[in-house]
C-alpha cells in the first residue's frame, strides 16, 4: 500500500529520532507549565509546541511527508481551514467575561 514508497525507508533510526524529538517537546510543555508567565503567554507557548509535535507526528509517524504532494496539501489546507473556522467564537467568549453576552 505504500505510496511514494520506498524512498521513505530510512530504517528505524529516523523513527527513533522523531520519537526522541517528541519526548523532548512533550517535556518542554511540562517545563513551560512551571514558568512564571501569564496564562495567555503560557497558552501561546504550549500551543506552539503542540503544533510542532503534531506536525512531526503527522509528517513522519503517519508518513504524510512521503505521500503525494497533492494529498499533503489537501490534508493541510482542509484541516487548517476548519481550525481557523472554529475561531469565530472567541469574541463571544470575551463578551461572556465582561458579562455582556448580547452586547452590541
Amino acid at each position: 500500500m505504500t505510496t511514494v514508497d520506498e524512498r521513505k525507508s530510512n530504517g528505524i533510526g529516523k523513527d527513533l529520532a522523531i520519537y526522541a524529538c517528541l519526548l523532548v517537546l512533550a517535556g518542554l510543555q511540562f517545563v513551560i507549565a512551571y514558568q512564571k508567565i501569564g496564562a495567555a503567554q503560557m497558552f501561546g507557548r504550549m500551543l506552539t509546541v503542540a503544533c510542532v509535535e503534531a506536525g512531526l507526528a503527522a509528517l513522519f509517524f503517519m508518513h504524510l511527508w512521503t505521500e503525494k504532494r497533492g494529498f499533503l496539501l489537501f490534508v493541510a489546507i482542509f484541516t487548517i481551514a476548519v481550525l481557523l473556522g472554529l475561531q469565530f467564537g472567541w469574541t463571544d467568549s470575551t463578551r461572556m467575561v465582561v458579562g455582556a453576552p448580547f452586547s452590541k
Binding site: 500500500m1 517528541l22 509535535e53 507526528a57 503527522a58 503517519m62 494529498f71 461572556m96
Partner: protein, 206 residues
C-alpha cells in the same frame, strides 16, 4: 483532466478512474475519518477554551504532573512500537508484527487504566459532571467530555489493534491493514499532545 481520468473511444468514463491522490482506498478512507475526527476534537477543545475564557472561577485542581507525564510517555512510546510493528509487517515478519501490535495494545490498556485511576481520584475529591469543590461546575463537564472522548478513541484503538493483529497473524489481513490502523493510533497520540497542555497543564495548581 488528471492522469487518472481515462477515455474509451474519446468518452470520459468513471469506471476506470483510479483512487484519489493515488492512495489506496482503505488508506484514503482512514485519512478522511481522521480529518473528520480532527474537527470533532478541535470543536471540543475550542468550546473548552471558550468556557475557560468566559468563566471567572475556573478551577486548577491538578497538583501533580506525574500521572499525566507517565500517560504521555506511554502513548508516545506506543506510537513507536506501532511503527516497529508496521516495519515488521512490511518485512514479512508475521510473528514480529503481531508481537509489536500486541505490545502497542498493551500500552493502550495501561494508558486507559491510568486514565480511569485519575478519573476515580477526581471523582473521589468530589468532582462530577456538574459540580466540583474548586470552582465552576463547567470544568467537570468539559474535562470528562474531552478526556472521555479521547479515552473512547484509545479503547476503540486497543480493540482494533487486537482484532487486526489476530487476523493479520491468521492471514486474513496484511501489512496494509496494519498501516491503516497505525494511522489511527498515531492520530490518537497526536490529539493527546493538545489535550495535555490545554486540559491538564494550564490547570495546574501552582
Amino acid at each position: 483532466m488528471s492522469q487518472a481520468d481515462s477515455t474509451v473511444e474519446g468518452q470520459v468514463t468513471g469506471l476506470t478512474i483510479g483512487p484519489a491522490f493515488s492512495i489506496p482506498t482503505k488508506k484514503l478512507a482512514m485519512w478522511l475519518f481522521i480529518i473528520a475526527d480532527t474537527m470533532t476534537f478541535a470543536a471540543c477543545l475550542v468550546a473548552y477554551g471558550f468556557l475557560r475564557n468566559g468563566s471567572a472561577d475556573w478551577p486548577r485542581p491538578f497538583h501533580s504532573i506525574t500521572n499525566v507525564a507517565v500517560m504521555t510517555l506511554i502513548l508516545l512510546t506506543s506510537s513507536l512500537t506501532m511503527l516497529v510493528g508496521l516495519r515488521a509487517a512490511r518485512a514479512g515478519d508475521k510473528a514480529g508484527a503481531f508481537r509489536w501490535t500486541m505490545i502497542t495494545a498493551a500500552a493502550g490498556v495501561l494508558f486507559a487504566l491510568l486514565h480511569v485511576r485519575e478519573w476515580l481520584g477526581l471523582i473521589g475529591e468530589g468532582m462530577t459532571l456538574f459540580k466540583n469543590p474548586w470552582g465552576t461546575g463547567l470544568f467537570g463537564a468539559s474535562f470528562f467530555s474531552i478526556t472521555g472522548l479521547h479515552l473512547s478513541h484509545v479503547t476503540g484503538g486497543v480493540i482494533a489493534l487486537v482484532v487486526v493483529g489476530v487476523r493479520y497473524k491468521g492471514g486474513r489481513y496484511n501489512a496494509d491493514d496494519i498501516e491503516v490502523l497505525g494511522l489511527y493510533w498515531h492520530f490518537v497520540d497526536l490529539v493527546w499532545m493538545f489535550v495535555v497542555p490545554l486540559v491538564y497543564l494550564l490547570n495546574l495548581a501552582h
